[in-house]
Symmetry: C2
Subunit: 135 residues, 2 copies
DNA sequence: CCGGATCCGTACCGATACTG
DNA sequence: CAGTATCGGTACGGATCCGG
């Protein structure tokens, strides 16, 4: 039974060798499809729901709602409801959320610096492995 | 039968308001479940397939294979096959891959600094919104 | 030891319709 | 305007078996 096979526990665990520990938590939040784009937009100032949706073209109402809820839950953005008609809700980065923008900036910088090299590497790899199915 | 990415779906669109542009590409790579952990382990030196799998406890053979293939395709790691029995394959960060570790470090630092505050914020939010279904 | 191939559940996400 | 509710497709990831 399970010879030479480390116990496949039911724990999620991850346990990170010694460098990680917590990285996954961040990636689980900002690694999703929309959070970063919302944060980037809010880095420029206060935004209403509709404004956010226009600023992030591809996003659906549903996903914008879910995204801002989760960011609010994590304390990265604040949500302010104004008792007016028509309704108005403002979203704004918290100090914590603002600190995230530095990270996002680093991400953007790294991306800008290496995107061409990566694209080139992909072309070479795809040419060398025509039917790999990797993407 | 390599399904090979039929064009059925999804232009990225995104078009990023002016700050982003490329961030999504990076997150599509390192934002997945395992890439960062593999990079973190390889930051410490050359590793064989089995060593990587042991260093990242939760990962399956399948996902490790897919992860290293994609990282190799992007030019972030190199793969060296030794003609011996039993087979031996070494993985190593390329210079580009190494530059990524700085970003990962920044991620880890930010995470370490804010994880408590985030956890606290989540507790407060969950207490205030008992059956929101958000996570 | 290093994978590739297959089956399959689930979580994510988009589209749509409806509410206050 | 700012959401909520529901449905359905798809892509991701885990388990397992098989091969070099």
């Amino acid at each position: 039974m399970s010879v030479g096979h480390t116990a496949v526990t039911t724990e999620p665990v991850v346990s990170c060798g010694g460098e990680d520990c917590g990285i996954r938590e961040v990636l689980d939040r900002i690694g999703d499809k929309w959070s970063v784009l919302v944060v980037v937009e809010l880095a420029q100032g206060v935004r209403r729901f509709r404004e956010l949706q226009r600023a992030v073209p591809g996003i659906s109402q549903r996903m914008l709602t879910l995204t801002v809820r989760r960011l609010e839950r994590d304390g990265l953005i604040s949500r302010t409801v104004h008792a007016v008609v028509p309704p108005q809700v403002d979203y704004e980065l918290t100090p914590t959320g603002h600190s995230l923008t530095h990270l996002v900036r680093a991400l953007a910088d790294w991306s800008a610096e290496h995107r061409d090299g990566i694209a080139e590497s992909r072309r070479r790899w795809d040419a060398a492995h025509p039917d790999s199915g990797i993407h």
